[in-house]
């Protein structure tokens, strides 16, 4: 019986490349990983957005209407709905002049209870410290 923590660190901007999208879809895949593991074993994902990657977390993304692809917003909300831990780097949010109102902080509209947190980089670093493996996207 073991739990391994994986940190998914998103530093890329959305859409121009697939990187941030693959971070979200792989983190969400932690929900079905048990079929490959022994009873009681678990993978615990943590999602953290840092650097320009925090721009993935803006509300009101309309990629589905305009381009027919799931928005990063939708994937972040799905992650919250599944109770994944989602952190957004405070220093980067401030540096880029983003107001908290503009950020995806919850998934209440789809019935989610878990909230994202705007966390100082030191806390994200602590999560990396206590993770078993780090995946930078």
């Amino acid at each position: 019986m073991a739990t391994k923590k994986l940190a998914f660190i998103v530093k890329s901007l959305p859409y121009k490349t697939e990187a941030s999208r693959l971070a979200l879809t792989h983190a969400i895949a932690s929900q079905t990983v048990e079929i490959y593991l022994e009873d009681g074993d678990m993978v615990e994902p943590v999602l953290a957005f840092m650097g320009d990657g925090v721009l993935n977390c803006l509300k009101d993304q309309t990629a589905m209407n305009l381009y027919g692809v799931t928005s990063l917003e939708q994937h972040i909300k799905n992650s919250l709905l599944l109770d994944l831990k989602v952190m957004i780097c405070k220093e980067d949010v401030e540096r880029l002049g983003i107001s908290e109102d503009a950020l995806i902080m919850d998934a209440e509209d789809i019935g989610g209870e878990t909230k994202a947190s705007i966390a100082p980089f030191g806390e994200i670093m602590k999560e990396m410290d206590t993770s078993d493996h780090l995946l930078f996207f």
Binding site: L13, P14, Y15, K16, D52, L55, L58, K59, D60, Q61, T62, A63, L66, Y67, S71, E73, R95, L96, G97, I98, A102
Partner: protein, 98 residues
């Protein structure tokens, strides 16, 4: 010559854009270039906006990323794909994507 530059990213654009010389230089923000119109890093507007009096942003790419026209610099004109076609054929002899 007249030159339309499609700026497609948020980083490392300034170095190239600053060096280009044209009788008329247009800057069209597309893809992740749209952040130049909407994000003020460290409280400052993007230096890309100083490079030309002819500034455009593709509305589809602006909206997909979560921004509205009300959030962008007033010097930047929001355009559609159809407008972009007219810019390409009517306003600029050469077009580049950086």
């Amino acid at each position: 010559m007249t030159l339309g530059v499609l700026v497609s990213d948020f980083r490392n654009m300034d170095n190239i854009l600053s060096r280009l010389k044209a009788d008329k230089l247009g800057v069209i923000l597309v893809s992740n270039g749209v952040y130049h119109a909407a994000v003020k890093e460290g409280g400052k507007k993007s230096s890309i906006l100083e490079k030309s009096p002819h500034l455009y942003v593709l509305s589809e790419d602006l909206h997909s990323r979560g921004f509205a026209e009300s959030e962008i610099d007033t010097r930047v004109k929001s355009i559609t794909y159809s407008d972009l076609v007219d810019l390409i054929f009517n306003e600029y002899e050469k077009i580049i994507w950086i």
